[in-house]
Amino acid sequence: MSLALTIGVLTAGGVYLLLDRTFLRLVLGFVVLSHAVNLVLFAAGGADRRVEPLGSNLDPGAVSDALPQAFVLTAIVIAFSITVYMLVLAITGEESESEEETS
C-alpha cells in the first residue's frame, strides 16, 4: 500500500513539473517520474508477498524476485544518461529560450 501511494505521489509531482515551461523543471519532472516507474517495476516483482533474500536454503518462490530488480537497474542507467544529456540541452539553449518567450 505504501508503495502504491508513493508511486501515486511521485507520478503526480512528476506530471506537475512536466507541465512547466522551464526546461530545467521539465528535466526534474522526468527524474521524479522515472523514480515512480522504477517503483512500479519493483512492485511488479511482488514486493508485498516476498521477503528479503537473507540467510541460506532460501525458497526462490518466497524471497524477492531478482528479475524486476535487474529491470530497474537497467532503467536507472538509461534514465540517468538521458537526464545528463537533457541538462546539457537545458544549458545550451538558454539565450534562445528567453527570445522565444518575448516574441
Binding site: 538509461i78 544529456y85 540541452l89
Partner: protein, 504 residues
C-alpha cells in the same frame, strides 16, 4: 543458417561502433569499415529472408541458456523483410550523409552503427523488456545525430528540435517501461512467447500490454500524438531526417504489428480504436501539410498521414489487411527516404528548404527531378509504382472487411497527397524562384545557381528506382508479405521458435 547469427546482427555493429569511436580523427579506415558492417548486415538480412520465406521462424536463446530463461532472438519473414529494408536505408542514407557533408561530423560513423544495432535488436527480440532496451539503444545515438548534424546553422534551431525530440521520446519510453512493469506484475513474464494470447484471456493483461501499445503508437506518430514529428524531423540535416524517417517510427509500427498479433492474438474487440485513431491520423497529417512552406516539413506531415495507412493494416487484421499493411510499410520506408534525400539534395546545394526560395530545378537537374517525381507519384499512389499496389491492396482489404468509410477516407486522403506533391513539384522544380526570396537567400551568402550534381542525386535516385521495381514486380514482394501476414494470424510457429529455439 545457424540461428546463433541473430544476436550478432545487434552485437557486431555495436562492437564495430566501439572500435570506430576510438579511432583518431580523420582515420582512413573508419568509413570503409562502417560501410562493410552495414553491407554485411544487409547481406545477412537477405539470407534470412531466403531462409524464412516458406513461413518458418528461426529462434535463438542468447548464450545457450535454456529457453524461457534466455534472452530470445527470433526472425521470421516479417522481421527479415524489415531487416532488409532498414539495412538498405541505413546504407543509402549513410552514403548520402558522406557526400553531403553530414558524414564528416565527429562520431557520425559510431552513431550510425549503434543506431543499426538498436534497430536490428528491436526487430529481432521477442521480449518486451529487451524491446525497451533496444529502443533506447536506437534512440541514444539519434539524440546525438539530431543535434550534431545541424550545428552549423547555429545552436538555436537544433537545440529546439532536440529538446522536443528528447523530451517526447523520454516520456514515451517511461510510459512503455511502466507498461512492461505492469505486464510483469500481472502475467509474471515479459517473454512474447509466454505472453502469446494472454491478452485475450485476461483483461488485466490486455490493459497492461495496452499501455505498451499506446506508448508505441505515440512513438509511431499516430493521432493524437503526431505533432512532435513534424516539428523535430525538419530541424536536423537532410541525411539524418531521411535516416530517421526510415527507421524510428517504422520500427515502432513493426512492434505494434508484432505485439498485437502475438499477445492479443488479433482480438477483434479493440480493433475499432485503431480504425478511428488511424483514420484520423491519415486526415490530420495530410491537412497539416497544407499549411507548411518548406519541403521537408511538408514531407514530415505526409509521413504522419502515411503512418495512418500503414497502421490500418493491423486495425483491419485480416490476412489481406495485414499483407497490405506490411507491403505498405516496406514501400513507404523506401519512398519516404527517397523523397527526403531528393529534397535534401536541393537543400544542401541551394541552402534553403523554403518553397519560394528555390525554383526551376527540373531544367538544371533532370535526374534529380526524375527521382523526386517517381517517389512523389509513388507516395500519392499512382501506377506503375509500388505506392499504387500498396494503396490498392489496403483499400480493397478495408472494403472486404466491411469498413467502407475507412476505405473512402483513404481514397480522399491520397488525392490530397497528390495535391501536396504537386505543390512541391511546381514550386521547387518548375516555376522560377520569386525575386525577393532568392535575393534574401543570396544575401545569406549562399550561391543559388549551383548545380546539385550526380553525386548528391544518386542515393535518392537509387531508392526511387527500387520503388519502381517494387511496383512493376509487386507480385514477388506481395507473396512474401502474404507469408508474413499468415505468420501474424497464426503465431504458433513464431511462439515455438521463441520458446524452444532452432528453426520452426
Amino acid at each position: 543458417m545457424n540461428d546463433a547469427v541473430l544476436p550478432l546482427l545487434a552485437g557486431v555493429p555495436l562492437g564495430v561502433a566501439g572500435l570506430v569511436a576510438m579511432a583518431p580523427r580523420g582515420a582512413r579506415w573508419v568509413l570503409p569499415l562502417t560501410f562493410a558492417t552495414l553491407i554485411a548486415s544487409l547481406v545477412v538480412a537477405v539470407v534470412l529472408v531466403a531462409e524464412t520465406r516458406d513461413g518458418s521462424s528461426i529462434g535463438h536463446g542468447v548464450a545457450g541458456w535454456p529457453a524461457g530463461i534466455s534472452i530470445p532472438f527470433v526472425a521470421d519473414v516479417f522481421s527479415s523483410l524489415m531487416l532488409v529494408v532498414t539495412g538498405l536505408l541505413s546504407l543509402v542514407c549513410t552514403w548520402f550523409a558522406v557526400v553531403s557533408g553530414t558524414g564528416r561530423i565527429h562520431l557520425f560513423a559510431p552513431f550510425v552503427l549503434v543506431l543499426t544495432a538498436g534497430v536490428n535488436g528491436v526487430l529481432l527480440t521477442a521480449d518486451l523488456f529487451n524491446l525497451f532496451v533496444f529502443i533506447e539503444v536506437m534512440l541514444l545515438p539519434s539524440y546525438g545525430l539530431l543535434i550534431l548534424a545541424e550545428r552549423r546553422r547555429g545552436t538555436d534551431r537544433s537545440v529546439r528540435g532536440s529538446r522536443l525530440y528528447v523530451t517526447f521520446n523520454l516520456f514515451v519510453s517511461t510510459l512503455f517501461l511502466a507498461g512492461v512493469g505492469l505486464t510483469y506484475g500481472i502475467a509474471r513474464t515479459v517473454n512474447l512467447g509466454e505472453l502469446a494470447g494472454a491478452a485475450q484471456e485476461s483483461d488485466a493483461v490486455a490493459a497492461a500490454v495496452g499501455v505498451c501499445l499506446v506508448a508505441l503508437s505515440m512513438k509511431a506518430a499516430s493521432f493524437p500524438a503526431y505533432g512532435w514529428l513534424a516539428r523535430a524531423y525538419p530541424s536536423t540535416s537532410p541525411a539524418v531526417t531521411a535516416l530517421f524517417s526510415g527507421l524510428h517510427t517504422k520500427v515502432a509500427i513493426y512492434a505494434i504489428y508484432r505485439i498485437y498479433a502475438v499477445v492479443f492474438d488479433g482480438d477483434t474487440r479493440w480493433l475499432w480504436i485503431g480504425l478511428v485513431a488511424f483514420s484520423l491520423t491519415m486526415v490530420v497529417g495530410v491537412l497539416g501539410a497544407v499549411g507548411e512552406n518548406t519541403t521537408r516539413s511538408i514531407l514530415a506531415f505526409h509521413m504522419v498521414s502515411q503512418i495512418g495507412y500503414i497502421l490500418l493494416g493491423v486495425a483491419i487484421f485480416t490476412a489481406a489487411g495485414l499483407a497490405a499493411g506490411i507491403f505498405y510499410l516496406l514501400h513507404h520506408m523506401i519512398v519516404k527516404a527517397s523523397l527526403f534525400l531528393s529534397a535534401g539534395a536541393v537543400e544542401v546545394r541551394h541552402g534553403s528548404a523554403r518553397l519560394d526560395a528555390v525554383g526551376a530545378v527540373a531544367r538544371r537537374e533532370p535526374w534529380l527531378a526524375a527521382a523526386f517525381a517517381m517517389a512523389a507519384l509513388s507516395l500519392a499512389g499512382l501506377p506503375p509504382f509500388s505506392g499504387f499496389v500498396a494503396k490498392l491492396t489496403i483499400i480493397l482489404a478495408a472494403f472486404d472487411a466491411g469498413h467502407a468509410a475507412v476505405a473512402a477516407t483513404a481514397i480522399v486522403v491520397s488525392l490530397l497527397t497528390l495535391l501536396s506533391m504537386l505543390k512541391i513539384w511546381d514550386a521547387v522544380f518548375v516555376s522560377a524562384p520569386r525575386e525577393d526570396a532568392s535575393a534574401e537567400t543570396a544575401g545569406g551568402g549562399v550561391v543559388t545557381e549551383q548545380r546539385v550534381g550526380m553525386k548528391l542525386t544518386a542515393p535518392g535516385l537509387v531508392l526511387a528506382l527500387v520503388t519502381l521495381g517494387l511496383g512493376l514486380g509487386a507480385e514477388g514482394l506481395l507473396s512474401l508479405t502474404q507469408v508474413a501476414a499468415a505468420g501474424l494470424l497464426d503465431t504458433s510457429g513464431y511462439v515455438a521458435a521463441v520458446l524452444e529455439g532452432g528453426v520452426r
